[in-house]
Symmetry: C2
Subunit: 260 residues, 2 copies
């Protein structure tokens, strides 16, 4: 496999840094090729703005979508963005590794998504008709590739359980799993989540890395979350609502994954 790990933690000498090293070693030992985008080490620019489009007509107002579309089509994106897109095209597997900060990814990683996910690359792909609404949610340029999150949290597992006060971890991660990964076509594997990071001693570190190793070993074979395909018949077009005969009377994030 060719694995891209996008890693967002500000301190290498941390649990996340150790887990990053562990993943790289495990994957390479198994014969895989690994590239790492260490966003803090790269001093990744987080904010999407007009500076991302140096060839644009500065007399016109900045339009994030239109300027992105033009720059992607004309090959005038900034080098940092184009390099990340090339890594994504090279990879067959993407791992996003980050600590959960305020119930989602750190700003620097959100800024990787905002900037690398160009119009024509991750959205605005494919035709819109009465049968298809673009290539997204199961189709798109990342189709055939797999993705997985490796996430740490400071809270307890119960705080992120079905009735835990923070909300269920799978629902907190849904906007990433479904809206950021499934959207441009990735098959999304269940996440690796390590809770209560301040209480990881040597024994727990050994347990957590053993579990992580099993998940890395299963990257190519584990079953993905069965998110529905937008253009596969389950949704009305263009309203994009789940058809009434499916998941009758139910709503919310969970209806977008098919029952096992």
């Amino acid at each position: 496999m060719k694995v891209l790990i996008v890693y967002a933690h500000p301190e290498r000498r941390s649990l996340n840094g150790s887990l990053n090293d562990f993943m790289i070693g495990r994957l390479r030992d198994a014969g895989h090729e690994v590239q790492v985008s260490d966003l803090y080490a790269m001093r990744w620019k987080p904010q999407l703005d007009a500076d991302d489009f140096p060839q644009r007509d500065a007399s016109q107002r900045f339009d994030a979508s239109a300027d992105s579309k033009r720059a992607y089509a004309q090959g005038t994106q900034t080098a940092d963005v184009a390099a990340e897109q090339a890594k994504l095209q090279w990879a067959d597997t993407l791992i996003l590794q980050f600590p959960l900060w305020w119930f989602t990814m750190p700003a620097i990683l959100k800024g990787w998504v905002d900037r690398v996910y160009a119009y024509g690359f991750a959205y605005g792909v494919g035709e819109h008709s009465d049968r298809r609404w673009g290539e997204r949610y199961g189709e798109g340029r990342m189709a055939g590739k797999r993705a997985m999150l490796v996430v740490t949290t400071g809270g307890w597992a119960s705080h992120y359980g079905p009735r835990g006060i923070n909300g269920p971890i799978e629902d907190l991660l849904f906007p990433i799993h479904h809206g950021i990964l499934h959207y441009p076509g990735f098959d999304v594997l269940p996440p690796v989540v390590i809770h209560r990071t301040s209480k990881v001693d040597e024994a727990r570190y050994a347990e957590e890395t053993a579990a992580l190793a099993r998940r890395l070993d299963g990257l190519a074979t584990d079953a993905p979350i069965p998110f529905r395909r937008q253009n596969g018949g389950d949704y009305s077009i263009p309203g994009l609502e789940l058809r009434p005969e499916i998941e009758v009377g139910r709503s919310g994030f969970a209806v977008h994954a098919a029952a096992a």
Copy 2:
């Protein structure tokens, strides 16, 4: 009222820029004081890292929580962070205004949260015992203040409906409403959401601003989302699970708001 608007859009000559001007005008005309943090104009630094703590011992490994705690307690935070905290303490009402990018806030606004929400200011507040688990989720330094999101999306309202493919907008916003606003104590008002931004002509702009005006006029009086208080008896401590006799058999984000 004293209203702080934190605004995150890269182009002033945009729908969001117009809405921002409209809100400032409407609030000032009604006699309110308004401060605006225009994050792009301020060139806000999004990424939380060791540079945020210039007085820290650089020979030690960086710990986002521990370094934040120390700097907040000792008054050695960076000036930009301290200024935003002072605005939050000045305000009785907070509005976060942003375009929904990849189903959450733009990186620059996430970075405002990551950096301004210091340990001792927005988290790590209050004592932990068998009756209280810190002052959070309804308590904390923002208690007594109100907050509201003003959000634009490119998609259709139906795409964000109960069975819409993107997921219900209230669930997509839950990690912000509950995890970022209710957490340090804000009372959270229902959001203002304007969909399909590419199709806003003059007639629709008039409608949307009229609706926005009504919401601004109701900032002090509209009923907030009835999120439960962590230490109010509804949750076990320290497991922080909703007690079994409440919302029997239900789970997910919705159980954390009391039924009407």
